[in-house]
Symmetry: C2
Subunit: 310 residues, 2 copies
């Protein structure tokens, strides 16, 4: 969106994340422009890591880059537990502004331990997660210590967001789909379970998101989520079978489809809506909006979803 | 392997691919070092594209980079059909050397139309295949023309490899897993079917490979393959159910596991062998060997597979 590009011309992503007024403004832009039913906080999953003593930057066209990657137990020890009001008070302030300004509910979020660990260990985005998996399999004690540290801090972070007014939370395990089900179950699921269990009783829906997680769907619900995100690779009706009963699904239009002409977008979106069945379904894209997307296509998409009757 | 690094210090990948003696040498290195049961030709799926009038390079740490990406019907028209002996005679000469020198069968290979098209359209490797999907969905006539051109040329390329002595062929649709099943079926499967059907009667096994293709497995066999490659995300017993009866499977140890200590590698490899069931199973990694892998681990892995009795 041009209004977002205008903001980004003046401010870096991290500057925007750490300035409550700017984060709030960027959060409200798509709500105002598109008419969506909820807002998701403008931030990045690595933001709390900075407050845990990790020097990092978010580089345009690359992603998060960590100055000193975490590769030993000594590296894990230098990660300090997050104290939300002290460390990321600016995020909570942004939430407080948004709760006052918005007419729709605000979704808070955090990164899941595996995905955060992958950035910490690789030093940035990765294609194969080779170092992450090597540490996970080869040094399980170091790995578990890292999972513990991250899950405690992310739980505190999400609780603080709920206290500040977030009405739902989303846990982003964006890259968990790189793991086989057996590895996910052994090395990742326990840390995620602690986070979701720790949010029990806060009365907010817990959304669990990942990409390429077709083989993990049965686990991604069972670890304690209320809603399981599904990417476009798995039709929603098949995803529901894998996840099991008692969960809502979120998804799953391929963001690349939004680059096609409207009749194609419409056809695919209607198929997603039909597959979703109209109940227990949060319609969204299977991953983030691609930069080349025309905002008008997204606005038409929101209207289409609103007009759908199962 | 150090012997491979020594070759690469003196020659670029494209130089090695286009010099029969060097391609043959690189092909034989892992066979001699590891004792595997078959050799796979040292080459790259973009090699035939150069002989089809596409200017490209393979950049270290990046992958194939195309000088002028293909984004219109005029761009498709300037791709000339491959004449294998004329355009890639050096690949066929490498095969002829290898057939004389090797004690094990040689596997030839080519890139599948979707994966080749993704490089041509994006101009290089991609995370989201946004331009590829936009062209596929938005300009189906241009897309189909591109699929036709690629499938005809790849079929000719694979036939020439068989004529030169390749005893099996593998079709690499490495990135097909980025597609939903419905898109794969409509826009990709017909071109792949033409290739496999055109190899009928050549009496060589046809292996169909991709990564992240859990939701496409039923289609990847049905398009005419004899063997379906499976990555580590789907246990082989589950993969067999999805593929259906009458197919062999290939896979599926996660290459990242080979970076862990031997007992971990052994445990995971035995699980793959058990899941594979011992019959109609080609053991290999779910994707390429990672550069940091210790060749001794791979040699032990080959011994383990050879000693396995179901």
């Amino acid at each position: 969106m041009p209004e977002y590009r205008a903001l980004r011309e003046k401010h870096s992503i991290l500057e925007m994340c750490s300035t409550p007024e700017l984060a709030a403004q960027a959060t409200m832009q798509p709500v105002e422009r598109l008419g969506v039913d909820a807002a998701i906080l403008f931030s990045d999953i690595v933001v709390p890591l900075r407050a845990m003593g990790i020097a990092l930057d978010i580089k345009a066209g690359v992603g998060p880059v960590i100055d000193d990657p975490v590769r030993s137990v000594a590296d894990v020890d230098r990660i300090t537990p997050l104290e939300p009001e002290l460390g990321v008070g600016y995020v909570l302030d942004a939430i407080r502004i948004l709760v006052r300004e918005l007419d729709v509910p605000l979704i808070g979020f955090g990164g899941a331990p595996f995905t955060l660990a992958s950035y910490l260990i690789e030093g940035g985005p990765s294609k194969d997660f080779a170092r992450t998996k090597a540490l996970m399999l080869g040094e399980p004690e170091t790995w578990n210590k890292l999972m513990d540290r991250l899950s405690e801090s992310i739980l505190a972070y999400l609780r603080a967001q709920i206290d500040a007014g977030a009405r739902a939370i989303q846990l982003f395990d964006s890259w968990a789909g790189a793991l086989a089900p057996a590895e996910y179950l052994t090395y990742v699921a326990p840390a995620v379970e602690r986070i979701f269990a720790g949010l029990e009783g806060h009365a907010v829906p817990r959304i669990h998101f990942g990409v390429g997680t077709g083989e993990l769907l049965h686990l991604m619900g069972a670890v304690g989520a209320d809603v399981v995100g599904v990417d476009w690779r798995v039709p929603l009706s098949k995803a529901r079978e894998r996840i099991g009963k008692g969960f809502a699904v979120q998804g799953n239009l391929d963001p690349a489809i939004c680059l096609a002409p409207w009749p194609i977008v419409e056809e695919h979106a209607l198929e997603v809506l039909r597959q979703g069945g109209g109940l227990g379904h949060i319609f969204n894209l299977g991953h983030g909006v691609l930069p080349a997307t025309d905002p008008d296509i997204l606005a038409r998409l929101v209207d289409l979803v609103h007009s759908f009757r199962p």
